[in-house]
Symmetry: none
Subunit: 374 residues, 4 copies
């Protein structure tokens, strides 16, 4: 029995077979902070457990309490679980949990190429198109219009994740065919959302890049499947995902074999109600600091407000985004989804022009003041 | 012309073909309340008229009267006109976007039966077991221990949604077989999480209830598949889902044909960092106010802290929860997942005892004060 | 100059005079995690800085990186600032930053007495009354009604913090006199909110307990002033305050000389929009775990919904709250503030009755199942 | 009788006396748009009528036309009747609860002048300096350095709001004198935080602009006092304040008589833990959409991370911020507060240079693709 505090008795530890195969070899330092009243026996127990878990224990005895570091490579969860061992106050992890996406592994920036368009290079790539493909005319009109205005890629939803089962759920295969035709007519590579492992093959046949939507960022079955396809993936950040969780979702793709991943910030859920989401532009800078993967931004979902798209698009470029993905519809007030945040063609042209305007100049200190110093 | 700024080119309105088919008319659900004396023939007439008007009819037969919901997109005015049809009492529009889950459709509370265990009845149902099935011994020991302490159902993860691809991902089919054996030995019905449409069939073969995890609450492909299975579903609230979005996720299940749905509050993500989540117990009361479905609570994920489980479990029962789902492990400090929030057997027994303790008494105003009035 | 990375050059460190007087003597262990590429020189610099800051440095050299612990008593902020020293990856604090409020300092629970009413003892204390004092009759009627129903203390706002300058701001001194009269008539001790240091004296003359409102939880000038008064303080948690920040606000009061502090959870701001706030009942349990101070709960602000007050009040008592503070108004639909969350007299009586009802029983495992085991 | 459930006792309605005086009629602000040709006499007549109706009149004279707002509580119908008065164009009710800060009242942007520096004009104003004034040398060195690098104003804390009572609380009056000396030496106007009504006078003597910190955004006693001083106010957004609440806090200042208000976004609290706050840059654009007041941004608190300051500062300018306030310290690793987010002198110069770099260019659609269309 493992019963009691720490499995002191007879029975062999049961978990090891599986674990050894999959999880050995993490580099992760952990700190176990003993409580002020921890006994010598409790400290010894922790030291032994750290050793069993494959780490080297390093003991630091302070005036009031003892700290035991788990150093090296071991089974991290066994240290995390010491949180509930007797005499332990807290357990703190030190290193970041992601690896392949990290700039520590790959300091130079990655470039993802989607059928000739390079995201992560010197230029900002603009992806535009309607939330949903609603009809052939709607999509083709939009495709020509956004290319005319300067977009390099086309977006359009075929399978729509809708909060209510009674809302428009997308045209499915019909939409994929329309997207494919739009690419032929305009030369714009196409990205569309994939919601289910069952749709992966048919989507790969018709489009150039697959998007994992915000609500599916932690749909791990889907991520594992997409790790094996020969298509670049656009991975949106979940509405309540930390930057760390977002990078770990990308880690599923890279560790499964697909290196062609572009991250996309699209706003997080907060208490603010004036905008659909809180557009976390600093997270774009942070994700680029932590990871070598390209990062783009979605000002349409990020704010949910047509009137703010131009300003926040400029901000996204200024903060370092490698691209933008913007919702454009021939007639937003008739859109079957996301009308309030979609731009019409003229509005989109205005945003594209705004991206070329210089930054407002910075004031210089007054001359009188400068002379005051001398 | 789609008018306005865009589409000046004289091209025909692009969106309409599709729209006419699916979304014509107002998208608005209606409820037709039949009178207590309505005949079968009158009910059948209403059902047919709803279908003709472009809605899907959903019939709910209560003890006293029958209600027919008109769900989807149709010609609303044709439903309104049913007001004067024989056997009809009233016709009302529903303000809330969910329908079949609403107490307006079904005022009496639903009871979901899982292989003999009734959730939503007069008694609180406790579901207990480890986060993950790690081995046969671990699971069987736990199953016997939690039944001994008073649990009515067993939980155990076979497929684990893990933030990092390097964390333990579950034993899969092997775990399902172990769960099945535990049920045979203990008689406890079993619930396990389903993460992918591809696993649905094999899971249905082995367990009694399927859980949709918090991260999959809006995995609509999964919800649509589960709407068609002959198993009750435990639907966890997403970490950033509003109560309304949670009920709409349940609506996917009910509108797709599966009425056996239990809701589960498991904490939401907020700025607070001392606990894993913020356990939203008021949402349990609110969900029970808005919906007839049973609602249970998960104090383990809700707080992430062993030391708080007893207190918040009592609170969950006090606020009206129809059940609790609690993580129990023979040795939490060796658990492969969720160790810090898992109880050992003694800890679980203590929680079960706490559920039987009376509420702390309320102070009465002082006697001196009372006499001061007279 | 302190210029450059770390003040290597000539000029004396400027900050020390002030700091030595005020901040010496914190017991706090810190961990400085060096980056993988840290040089020996950078490690040495950190070790020296830790020693200068009054701590003992303890070095742990791992396979890939070095960790330096700062052990003992020193100037914590100097270690925190090492975050930006060259070669440093992260700095982590270990111990909790609060002291006098902590159960580590005082394991037994504190009882705060307010003119004969004891909060923190074996009984739950109910405080009730209107959001604002609107008139003599309104307050006196309410005072008698809530005492009749079982409340032990009276609440009523004289100075109101209102989001808009155009909303009702309270009757001020007139309200204080009315509250004083109500206490004489009913014998109920009175609590009212204080918003400004300037009002402290006049409020102390008229009432028994002073409330620091949620928006003023970190109004440190006010806290410092209240630390010196001879009245118990009711300290509400801020709408975005962590439990730690809340306890540190209480620490201002205790460290300034006022030990008579009652904490009050009143809901935090989250993305959920159906309720005014997210009532964080687990935080009540956590605060009682971390601190010896009594903790009460405010279901009125916690949910903002009349219909949920009874359920969440029961939950608050079940989770361990030492008291409740509930808004009651003779006619909520005419209230000048907080109408939607105020109970009328009958509603309040119903809540008081609900507090005496037993918890719903727990189901027992089925007999068939039990026999299956043998 | 106040009717309904309560108040059956036949007692007279208690609330009315007070209500009649302060709150009679509907509380609803109205805007009277005078025609372009309105005479002074006609404007005066409208002002008098507004006063008679119980509102406070606030006159805004624009380039083309004059607007008179009716603010407060009055008899609305009397204002509506002004529709037919001579010189009046239209009378409209305002939906948003704020009035004087609104662009509906004043469409052109306001400029706030601080001792010669204009915020809200064509140039971006950079305010820089240490979190806290720690010593004369520290502040003077910093003042010279930031002016050299291009800052137009100096910041420095004298009274510090600190979460823990054991943290450095500021040098107080001594700091104010040092700030004053720095201004004399460099000519830079100075801004410092005011935490208490009691410190207002002494701070006004020494500095040019008073900052209301994030935690005091809803310290209404402080706002009311600052509405009466002859100094511009820098009003930071609270960590959990909506944009609407922030503008209503500004409304306290304007309605109390102080028109010289600059808003400052400094990050909000969310679940994200990698950064100190979530920097809400879209809120800068939104606040400028809703209000005529200048809006600046604080990238130091907004992110809490030195390494992100340059990127998010550029983004803030791109989104439309009228200025930046940035923490600079001679030696961040020795700072008494906010070290991890403070820049050293070289880091600040780098940020100032970054503000002059052009935006990254947008990719153009591929030529091959363009020809594919023809």
């Amino acid at each position: 029995m493992y019963g009691g505090v720490a499995g002191e008795a007879g029975r062999p530890v049961p978990l090891c077979r599986f674990f050894r195969i999959n999880c050995t070899g993490e580099v992760n330092n952990m700190i176990v902070n003993m409580s002020e009243k921890a006994t010598e026996q409790e400290i010894t127990h922790v030291i032994e457990r750290i050793r069993e878990a494959g780490y080297q224990p390093h003991v630091t005895r302070g005036v009031e309490r003892t700290i035991v570091a788990a150093v090296g490579s071991g089974r991290r969860h066994e240290i995390e679980a010491l949180q509930v061992a007797p005499g332990v106050d807290t357990v703190v992890a030190i290193a970041q949990p992601f690896k392949l996406v990290s700039r520590q592994v790959r300091p130079e920036r990655s470039v993802v190429e989607i059928n000739g368009v390079r995201i992560g290079g010197p230029e900002v790539v603009v992806i535009a198109g309607p939330c949903s493909v609603e009809s052939r005319e709607q999509l083709l009109d939009t495709a020509h219009a956004v290319r005319q205005a300067g977009a390099s890629m086309l977006r359009g939803g075929a399978y729509k994740p809708r909060t209510s089962p009674y809302d428009f759920q997308g045209l499915g295969l019909e939409a994929l065919k329309i997207l494919s035709e739009a690419r032929e007519q305009t030369g714009l590579p196409v990205v569309t959302e994939v919601m289910s492992t069952e749709d992966v093959d048919v989507i790969c046949e018709h489009v150039d890049m697959l998007q994992v939507g915000a609500r599916n960022m932690q749909n791990f079955a889907l991520l594992r499947r997409l790790a094996t396809v020969n298509r670049p993936i656009l991975l949106k950040r979940g509405p309540s995902a930390t930057v760390k969780e977002w990078l770990l979702a990308a880690e599923y793709l890279l560790s499964g074999g697909n290196q062609q991943v572009v991250l996309c910030e699209r706003g997080i859920k907060t208490f603010e109600t004036e905008m659909r989401n809180t557009f976390d532009l600093a997270a774009v800078a942070l994700a680029r600091d932590l990871s070598h993967l390209p990062v783009i931004a979605d000002p349409s979902h990020g704010t949910g407000k047509q009137s703010l798209i131009a300003a926040v698009s400029r901000a996204a470029v200024a903060v370092g985004a490698d691209g933008l993905i913007i919702e454009v519809h021939p007639c937003p007030e008739r859109a079957l989804s996301d009308g309030p945040q979609s731009l019409d063609f003229a509005g989109f042209e205005k945003v594209m022009r705004a991206l070329r305007e210089p930054l407002r100049p910075t004031a210089v200190p007054r001359v009188a003041a400068l002379s005051a110093q001398s």
